[in-house]
Symmetry: C2
Subunit: 112 residues, 2 copies
DNA sequence: AATACTACCTAGTCTTTCTATGTATAATAT
DNA sequence: ATATTATACATAGAAAGACTAGGTAGTATT
């Protein structure tokens, strides 16, 4: 992410909630999903993602459940909670408000 | 800013460069300008703004010049530099790219 | 005389993200 | 057979940004 990581501060949680809100997902899957859906823009590192997931779980916004695959391997699928869904709705609104505010600064309305 | 400050991480510099790029401004003025232009959304604290200005100056993106008012009071007006202008153009592009990427996650295109 | 506004500044704290590394199994390539 | 890549999780420590809280000082208002 390098030079543009600063732009993302505080937005990762929204993205994660958004994806997990559609269907339960596990960490590794989320990393690839974010990259493919954003056409390569997002390339999250494990060191960013897993702590973020743990934080969301600690806040009660998601719940992780271990699932064992036929081959014996384990995945931790995260499900969104009611609280998480409420938070997602709120974060969406906040994101829109931020966009509006930034637009007003970046592209100020013409003076009358 | 309270609950929404996290959304702003990394974007403050862009806003400051944008304003100062239009005309030289001093810190206190920037705080009020950001609030009025954003219709009350942005309420920057001094503890956020002044360090940000010093950071931008240390990076050579803006230059501060003390100006003495008729009543003897001092203001530090910041001017954008050539380097700062280039950075602003770049940051604008990055912001647009981020918006596009976030949109792809938040409002995924319908599957065909 | 007291309060509010203008105008600058910084120290310390908190949170987030990154880099770097570690563990372990499965699948593929040589 | 062995080496490499992909899958899948995890954490420690460092870096950076923004906040809280406080400070200084002159001017204007009540």
């Amino acid at each position: 992410m390098a030079q543009r990581y600063e732009l993302m501060k505080g937005n990762i949680d929204s993205l994660l909630l958004c994806l997990i809100g559609r269907q339960p997902m596990y960490g590794y899957q989320i990393i690839r999903e974010l990259e493919s859906r954003s056409q390569g823009y997002f390339k999250f590192k494990e060191g960013t993602l897993y702590p973020a997931l743990h934080r969301l779980e600690a806040d009660g916004l998601i719940i992780g459940k271990w699932q064992v695959l036929p081959n014996g391997r384990q995945r931790r699928y995260y499900h969104i909670t009611d609280k998480g869904y409420l938070s997602l709705v709120e974060k969406r609104t906040q994101w829109q408000e931020l966009l509006a505010a930034v637009s007003l600064i970046m592209q100020p309305p013409v003076n009358t």
